[in-house]
């Protein structure tokens, strides 16, 4: 059985694609055969974040419409074994993603022995976003500590609870996880920013992890290497912890408490 994980948020620019790339990479690093699919037809970016943009020949829509087979369209990741990328089409219309077409591709991936299928949702609550969450078994809701992101996350949770296959067919509901990204412990500590506990209280879903705001994310995307590979950075470690928790392990939260810099650090700088 393949597990379908949808990475979603409602709001744009909160870190869905960054998270999709890192979660998919993290699962593959743990030895699971993993595929990550870009559902953002017309605005594809997962290929850039994964660093495979120059190897795209066929895309998701080509496979749905039978112009290419899955084997031709899947791009093998350079940084992790067991990981494959299915890019979105850059030229087609969002409506090219039909429910039957998406289901067919997901079934075929399952047939090919994939353990996890990570669906990178587009922003918004329109067709593309709904297609990305329709077949979800689990959903990771990416939220920034900021009012519009929290509200949109709540909205997308409502849509998961009403429009997913699991909801429509009255099966066990989609398992929801909260991932807080771009978190600044200092600003939260000083009361300038919603804390991760505030967000969890508001959205009322289990917390998968807190990813700190960090320069490492931009370095990663600049190079086309998923952030989880930026060794020994808080971002990578926070994603690795989140993967562990997703797989049922217990890891205490890191990088969420603000420590006042000591005198030496203040005098001589350093990060």
């Amino acid at each position: 059985m393949a597990t379908i994980i949808t990475i979603t948020s409602g709001k744009g620019g909160v870190g869905k694609t960054t998270t999709s790339a890192s979660i998919a990479s993290g699962l593959a690093m743990r030895g699971f055969k993993t595929a990550v699919i870009d559902f953002d037809v017309g605005l594809r970016n997962l290929d850039l974040i994964m660093g495979c943009e120059r190897r795209v020949v066929y895309d998701f829509v080509n496979v749905i419409q039978g112009d290419a087979n899955l084997h031709q369209a899947l791009i093998k990741d350079k940084h992790a074994d067991n990981l494959f990328v299915l890019p979105a089409s850059q030229t087609r219309d969002k409506d090219a993603l039909t429910e039957e077409g998406v289901e067919k591709v997901l079934k075929e991936l399952e047939h090919q022995g994939f353990d996890y299928i990570v669906c990178d949702s587009p922003a918004g609550i329109e067709h593309g976003a709904v297609m990305a969450l329709t077949f979800a078994d689990e959903a990771i809701v990416v939220t920034n500590p900021e009012v519009s992101s929290v509200r949109d996350s709540d909205r997308i949770l409502g849509i998961i609870q009403s429009k997913s296959r699991r909801a429509v067919e009255g099966r066990e509901p989609v398992k929801e996880h909260l991932l807080v990204t771009r978190y600044s412990p200092k600003r939260a500590h000083e009361g300038e920013m919603l804390t991760y506990t505030d967000i969890q209280e508001l959205l009322r879903i289990p917390l998968l992890g807190v990813i700190p705001e960090s320069e490492a994310v931009l370095h990663a995307s600049n190079q086309g290497i998923p952030a989880i590979h930026q060794k020994d950075t808080p971002v990578a470690d926070a994603y690795l912890d989140a993967i562990g928790r997703f797989l049922g392990e217990t890891h205490p939260l890191r990088f969420v408490d603000y420590e006042k810099p000591g005198l030496l650090k203040r005098l001589f700088g350093g990060k």
């Binding site: 509200r151 709540d154 909205r155 000083e190 508001l202």
Partner: protein
């Protein structure tokens, strides 16, 4: 801003305001995605029913939604024509 805060700098702790606002709006949107949307239809239906008994203008019925503590109250105001 006082001279003290000019010297020491002042950060505004606005997160609590954000949380309060979100609590209200999220609670409202959770129960009421279909909520106030039905008010125009309700108004039309009320006009139709009341017109069977009293001659009124559609604009003489005002329907509104109000929050009182934890309750949402639908307020219906019907102005009957003046008796001459």
């Amino acid at each position: 801003m006082s001279w003290l805060s000019l010297i020491f700098g002042e950060k505004k702790a606005t997160a609590s305001v954000a949380k309060e606002r979100l609590q209200l709006i999220i609670a409202r949107e959770r129960v009421g995605l279909s909520g106030p949307d039905f008010l125009p239809d309700l108004q039309k239906d009320l006009v139709a029913v009341i017109s069977k008994y009293v001659k009124i203008n559609p604009e003489d019925i005002k329907v509104g939604l109000e929050k009182q503590g934890n309750f949402e109250v639908i307020e219906v105001n019907i102005v009957l024509p003046e008796i001459r």
